[in-house]
Symmetry: C2
Subunit: 468 residues, 2 copies
C-alpha cells in the first residue's frame, strides 16, 4: 500500500451488464445518446460487443450488429472498445474453421474493436490460439482469459501455467473470468498474487456479483496486484451483473489505488441508464438479488434455474437436491470442466438423466459422448475411463484440436449466402447463425426487419421498477 | 492472516434491516415462526429491539413493544438479544432524566435484552454515561458507540480518545456506527487498526450498504482486527440496509476469519424472509439500490430525499445543488456534528433557509439556537462564535450535560399516566411517547387497538416484488 498505482476500469454497461440483467436487449438507440458522457469518463475500455449481443441483435432487435459496432465506434472516439469472443466458437455455437476465425477477427477490428477478450469454456487454449494470433496480426490488444472454477485440478499453479502459455501466444493481458461468482476474496488474493508473481502482464478481474462477493474479490485482487477491474454503472449493477462502477471507484478513491474517475459524471450516466432500464422491464430476471447458493453447492445461479425448469416440466422438482448432489459427480467424471456454456448444459442434463432414470449413465447424452470423444477440446482433468468406454465404445478419442478437423469454409459460406450478403460482414453474420442470419439478411433485402415489441410501462410497473 | 480468529456476526434482520427497508413495519407474528432457525445459527447476537421499533410498534402496529421483546426472548433462548439505545434520549425524542434512563435500562434487561448498543448523535459521551452505567449495574453487556463521520476534527485519534473514555465508563465493546455509508475500505482499515492498537476491547462494525461499500469496509475491518460485524439476512440486505449475512459468511469461509456459520441454514432463513417481505410491499423505499452520492457530497441518502421533498413543497427543487453545497458550510459552523437524527434535520433545515432566503442565517431555526446553546450536548469541533452570538444573544451557553438540568421525573410520569399503566413498562411506554403512548394504553384498555391495514399483494405486484 505504499506505491501509488492507478487502477483501470472496464465498464460493462453496453454488453455484459444488460446481458446479465435484461437478456441482452438494450438497443443501440439507447446507447448512443449517452456515449458522449461515457467517452469523457476515462475508462480503460468499454465492453460493447460480443457475448450474446450479436445473437440478440439479429434474433430479437433486428439490428445489424456490425452497424451497432460502427455507430459505437463513431460515438466513442476516445475510448477503447472491447469485445468478448468465445475462441474457436467466435459468437456462434460450434467450432469454426480457422479461415472464418481469422476473417471474423479482422472484420471486428476493422469495424472498431480494440480489445479482444478471448476464452474457451474448457480453458483448452488450443481453442483460442487462432483467434489470439489473428488479433495480434491486426495489431489490436489480445486478452487471454482464464475461466475460473474450483476443483482439485484448478489450482493457482494450473492457472499460472495457462496464463504463461497464453503469454507465449502473444496475449497482452490476462483476464480472470468468474462467470458464476465462485471466487471468494481470499481465494482471489492468492490467485492474483500467484499470477502476478509469474506472469508479467496486466491482470484483469471479471467477476459476477451473483453471490454478493464480487466487490470484495475485486478489492482483494487490487491489493494482490491486479491492474484492472470490470464494473458496471450502478443502474445495471449487482446481482447476476457486476460490482457497481461508482462503488468501486469510491472504494479506491484517495487510496493508493485511486482510479481518478469522476463520481459526479458516473452518477449522471447512471441516472440516464436508470431511466433506460424501465423500458426493458419485461426482461427483468427474478434473480437480481445476491444469491449465495453458488457458494453452497458450486452450481451457478443460471444453471440452477435452468435445472429447476427442466425438472418442473418433468414433474420432478422434488428431485432437485439429488440433481444438485449429482452435478459434482458428473463433473468429476468429465474431468472437472468449468460450468459455463456449453459445459453447464452438458453436465446439468446428464445429471438430470442420472437422477431421473434411477441408474447413473443408463442414458448418456450425445453431448456427453461428444465431450468424451474430445469434440469440445481437452478436459481440464482426467475423465472417467470406464464411462468413456461405455459412452464411445471403440470409436477413437480425438486428441487434436477440434478445429483441426474442419476444412476452410469461408468460400462455401460466401457461396451459400450469395447475393443476400452485401459485404464480408454479412457473410460472417450468416456464418454465426445459418438460419437466423439468412432470415435477417433476407428481411433486410425485403425491407421487413421489425424488432420485437416492447411492453409499455404502465404506471404501476413504473413505480415498482423504480424500486427494483 | 496467519492466526485463526472466528469472526462473530450480529444479524440485524429483526431491527435495523426492516427499519432501513420497510419503515420498521415487520410484525412480531412474522418474526416468531423463524425464531427456532435463527436461534440455531450461532449468531453472536440478534438485534431485535430499539431504534425505531418501539415507535413503530406503538404508532402503527399497535403492538406492545415490551410484549414483543418477551416473546422474542422466549423464542430465542440460546441467542443474545441486542438493542439500540439513543443514550439519554432512550427511544424517545428528548433528553430524559436519569431516573427514567435507569428504569428503562433495567426493564429492558428484565424483559430480555442482553446487549445494549448506546450512542449519542454528537458523540458527546456524557449523554451515554447514565445508560452505560445502568447497563453495567444490570450485569448486561454495554457497547459504546462511535457515530462515524468525516470532518477535520473526526480523526482516528479523536475516535480512539472517545473509545478510551467509553472503556473507562465500563464499555464491554466498541461499535463503529456508519449510518450513512461514509466509510471507505481503506479508511475503515486505518480506523479499526487505530482502535485495536489502543483499546483492548472487541470492535464491531455497523455499516449501511447505501453507497455499496459496506461489504468491502467490513472485510477490511476484519483484516484490521475487528471482532464482529453487523449483517442482515440477504432477503433484507443491501442498499440502505446492510451487507448480506450469507455473502459475508461466504467471503470469510475457509479463511483465517471463518465465521463457522452454516450457509444452508442461512439460505433457509432468507427464503422465509423473502416471502415475508412481499407482505410489506407498500413500505418499500425507492432508495434500495446502491447510491454512491453520499461519497460525492457527504450528505446521507435519507437526508437527501428529505431535503428534496422539503424543496419540492416550496417549489424550489432547482435549488437542491445549492443546498447540498450549503450543508458542509452549516455543518462547519456547528462544529461538524455527525449527520444523524436529530442533527441531520437541524443542519438540513438551516441549509434550506440559508439558500431560500438568499442570505445566510437571516432566519435561524429554534433547533440551531438550542444546539448553539448546548442543548444537545457539546459540538465535536468549535462552533462559529459569531453565529452563536447572533443566534443566542446574551443567553448563556450551557456547558453541562443537558440532562443535568432535568429533575427526576419518573414519579410524575407514573402519576400522569395513572391507572392506564398496569406495569412500570407501561409507564416507560408513556414516557417515550406522551400522546401516542397514552392513546395506545387507552385503546388497549378499551379493546380498540387496531394495526394499520396492509395493502394486499396483487399478482402483478407480487411478480414485480419478487424481482426487487
Ligand atoms: Co461476464
Ligand atoms: Co443502522
Amino acid at each position: 500500500m505504499t506505491e501509488n498505482k492507478k487502477i483501470e476500469i472496464t465498464d460493462l454497461i453496453l454488453r455484459d451488464a444488460h446481458q446479465s440483467l435484461i437478456a441482452t436487449r438494450m438497443r443501440t438507440e439507447d446507447m448512443l445518446p449517452i456515449c458522449e458522457k461515457l467517452d469523457q469518463v476515462g475508462y480503460w475500455s468499454l465492453e460493447v460487443w460480443g457475448g450474446a449481443t450479436f445473437d440478440a441483435c439479429v434474433r430479437f432487435l433486428k439490428e445489424d450488429p456490425w452497424e451497432r459496432l460502427r455507430q459505437l465506434r463513431a460515438a466513442l472516439p476516445n475510448t477503447r472498445l472491447q469485445m468478448l469472443l468465445r475462441g474457436q466458437n467466435l459468437l456462434g455455437y460450434r467450432h469454426y474453421a480457422d479461415d472464418v476465425v481469422k476473417a471474423f477477427v479482422e472484420k471486428s477490428a476493422d469495424n472498431g474493436i480494440d480489445v479482444f477478450r478471448i476464452f474457451d469454456a474448457l480453458n483448452d487454449i488450443r481453442n483460442i490460439e487462432t483467434a489470439m494470433k489473428a488479433v495480434k496480426q491486426t495489431g489490436k490488444h489480445a486478452q487471454g482469459t482464464l475461466c475460473y472454477t474450483t476443483s482439485p485440478v484448478h489450482t493457482p499453479t494450473l492457472f499460472v501455467e495457462q496464463a504463461l502459455r497464453m503469454r507465449d501466444m502473444g496475449a497482452d493481458s490476462i483476464a480472470i473470468k468468474d462467470m458464476a461468482g465462485l471466487l471468494t476474496p481470499f481465494a482471489t488474493y492468492d490467485l492474483v498474487k500467484a499470477l502476478k508473481s509469474k506472469v508479467d502482464l496486466p491482470i484483469v478481474l471479471h467477476s459476477h456479483a451473483t453471490a454478493g462477493l464480487a466487490e470484495m474479490c475485486q478489492l482483494k485482487a487490487v491489493e494482490a496486484g491486479a491492474d484492472r477491474i470490470d464494473t458496471a454503472i450502478s443502474a445495471f449493477a449487482s446481482g447476476t451483473s457486476h460490482p457497481a462502477t461508482e462503488a468501486q471507484v469510491a472504494a479506491l478513491k484517495d487510496s493508493p489505488f485511486d482510479t481518478q474517475l469522476d463520481l459526479s459524471l458516473l452518477a449522471e450516466i447512471s441516472d440516464y441508464f436508470r431511466e433506460i432500464r424501465k423500458k426493458y422491464h419485461q426482461f427483468e430476471s427474478e434473480f437480481t438479488r445476491e444469491d449465495v447458493s453458488v457458494q453452497i453447492n458450486q452450481v451457478p445461479g443460471g444453471m440452477m434455474s435452468n435445472l429447476a425448469n427442466q425438472l418442473k416440466e418433468q414433474n420432478a422438482l422434488d428431485k432437485i437436491q439429488e440433481v444438485f448432489a449429482e452435478i459434482p459427480r458428473v463433473r468429476k467424471d468429465l474431468g472437472y470442466p468449468p460450468l459455463v456454456t456449453p459445459t453447464s448444459q452438458i453436465v446439468g442434463t446428464q445429471a438430470v438423466y442420472n437422477v431421473l432414470s434411477g441408474k447413473r449413465y443408463q442414458t448418456i447424452t450425445n453431448e456427453v459422448k461428444r465431450y468424451l470423444q474430445g469434440g469440445y477440446g481437452a478436459a481440464p482433468g482426467e475423465v472417467n475411463i470406464e464411462l468413456q468406454k461405455q459412452a464411445i465404445g471403440n470409436e477413437p478419442v480425438e486428441h487434436n484440436r477440434p478445429a483441426d478437423a474442419i476444412k476452410p469454409e469461408l468460400a462455401k459460406l460466401r457461396n451459400d449466402i450469395g447475393d443476400l450478403a452485401n459485404t464480408e460482414e454479412d457473410v460472417l453474420t450468416f456464418a454465426m447463425f445459418p438460419d437466423l442470419g439468412r432470415e435477417f439478411l433476407q428481411q433486410r433485402l425485403d425491407g421487413t426487419l421489425k424488432p420485437e415489441t416492447l411492453r409499455p410501462i404502465d404506471s404501476n410497473q413504473a413505480s415498482k421498477l423504480a424500486k427494483a
